[in-house]
């Protein structure tokens, strides 16, 4: 099997998304992959933009440093759409992610239902392997 070269992670600033980003950086070090952290800009976010393109959130830079992950391999992307569609798009050009990583559950979601669960929706529709990182995950 070819090692993974491009890993995309969905990010909404939540604890679960941060855990997923951490896992992706740790895995990327092993694979020698680049990591694209992508934030989906929703319809309502037009009213109060939470994240902007070209400015990697400082908490992610800090996370990369904590994981000893080279900043040059970290890419930040802000894309219009719902989280599921945006993450699925990462498997296509120009990103060509060969692995999608998502936290187990974003903010305010209910357990056990496909509806409202980005991770389950992504897993159902993705064309590349999907890793769902549990919110309680700690590197062993």
């Amino acid at each position: 099997m070819k090692p993974f070269q491009s890993i995309a992670v969905g990010y909404d600033g939540s604890h679960d998304a941060t855990v997923a980003a951490r896992w992706a950086m740790e895995a990327a070090k092993d694979f020698g992959a680049v990591v694209t952290i992508v934030h989906a800009t929703g319809l309502r976010e037009h009213l109060h933009q939470q994240y902007v393109p070209d400015v990697t959130p400082p908490e992610l830079i800090a996370l990369a440093q904590e994981c000893a992950f080279e900043e040059s391999g970290l890419h930040w992307l802000v894309a219009n759409g719902d989280p599921c569609s945006v993450l699925l798009r990462m498997a296509s050009p120009p990103i060509n992610a060969d692995m999608l990583v998502v936290g187990s559950r974003g903010e305010g979601k209910r357990e056990g239902l496909l509806l409202g669960s980005t991770s389950l929706e992504v897993a159902e529709h993705a064309s590349v392997p999907v890793v769902v990182v549990p919110s309680s995950y700690v590197e062993r």
């Binding site: 800009t41 309502r44 759409g81 599921c84 509806l115 409202g116």
Partner: protein, 348 residues
């Protein structure tokens, strides 16, 4: 000419505190209708709750089951934009079914213009997923019903956001032509000029993405020059409009610069594509500034009914005109490329 509208249904419990997609939007829509003073020329038909048979023409059964279970167990946030409450599935079925009731009445009369004042809106709802405030795709349910009767349906979507759900549902359906004007880039990130339809429906999707600041003259020119020839060749038997009013300059959700006068001109324009009276229905989609929503609905309905509209003047002079010819050529190239690859495949 009569205006056929759906009866009011109780949508008050589909609400999330502080959310812009709120019950007051329908109050504004109904006020706009009242402002027309149509008296006996206003025909109100009973609201209709879409049946499962009517919904599965566009949505997959598993999604309907999930959505129903989600709502009846109390609802909650579906994504960062989209919510559901205990009664949302019931309300959404009325929103999806009301277009069918309006169409029935127009078919019976062979006269009039239809307007579906319903929420939640629908054009972002995919076959298997809710998103962008939308649970069920109202205009798609109506178009699919007409298609099942052998009709050729033109959907013009002038909401400021691309109707990704409607595009997806009819992507490979030759009997439905989907035309969208929308701000680009913006949510939901789809709606590129190169998205032209599937293998069996190449040329049945026309996207007209416009830059922030674009004014009504640019939108109308985009429709005339990019979509006009395609619509003429398609020769629709029905015209449905995904009538969002969030391209108005006062709307907080986007950056186009349209006025209610622009919507009047656009409504007049789409009326011309209907082959006869009684074949045009507008469906409320977005629009979040209540005053702009009210005046824009009023303007659109006035124009579609052939009345004079003397409110806000149409806007002009915004950016985007210069890119329309480039977009038209890019679209043509994409279609030629798809046809070439199809020809190559068939000769193998």
């Amino acid at each position: 000419m009569v205006l056929v509208v759906n009866e009011t249904f109780d949508d008050s419990s589909h609400e999330d505190a502080g959310h812009p997609e709120r019950p007051d939007r329908l109050v504004a829509a109904r006020t706009a209708i009242d402002d027309l003073h149509l008296d006996e020329d206003l025909v109100v038909v009973p609201a209709h709750s879409a049946t499962r048979e009517e919904l599965v023409r566009v949505h997959i059964g598993n999604y309907l089951d999930e959505l129903s279970a989600y709502c009846y167990s109390g609802g909650g946030d579906i994504d960062q934009d989209t919510y559901a409450t205990l009664n949302s599935f019931t309300i959404a079925k009325y929103a999806a079914g009301s277009g069918l009731a309006v169409i029935d009445e127009l078919q019976r009369r062979n006269d009039g213009v239809g307007f579906v004042a319903a929420r939640p809106p629908g054009h972002h709802a995919l076959a298997d997923r809710a998103m962008g405030f939308c649970l069920l795709n109202n205009v798609a349910v109506a178009a699919a019903a007409l298609r099942s009767q052998g009709e050729r349906v033109l959907i013009v979507d002038w909401d400021v956001h691309h109707g990704n759900g409607t595009q997806q549902i009819f992507w490979d359906v030759p009997e439905v032509l989907y035309v969208s004007t929308h701000q680009w880039p913006l949510f939901p990130g789809t709606g590129s000029v190169n998205e032209v339809g599937g293998r069996h429906a190449t040329d049945r999707t026309v996207n007209i993405p416009l830059p922030p600041g674009a004014t009504g003259d640019v939108v109308r020119r985009g429709i005339d020059e990019m979509a006009g020839p395609v619509i003429d060749a398609f020769d629709p038997t029905w015209v449905l409009v995904s009538a969002g009013f969030d391209a108005h300059r006062e709307d907080p959700m986007a950056d186009l610069r349209l006025t209610s006068g622009d919507f009047a001109l656009m409504a007049r324009g789409v009326s011309d594509y209907a082959p006869q009276p009684g074949r045009l229905v507008m469906f409320l989609e977005g629009g979040y500034d209540l005053d702009a929503l009210r005046s824009s609905i009023h303007a659109s309905l006035s124009a579609a009914l052939g009345q004079t509209y003397d409110g806000e003047s149409p806007s002009n002079g915004g950016p985007g005109t210069e890119q329309i010819e480039r977009m038209r050529q890019a679209r043509r190239s994409t279609i030629e490329l798809l046809h070439t690859s199809d020809d190559e495949e068939s000769t193998r």
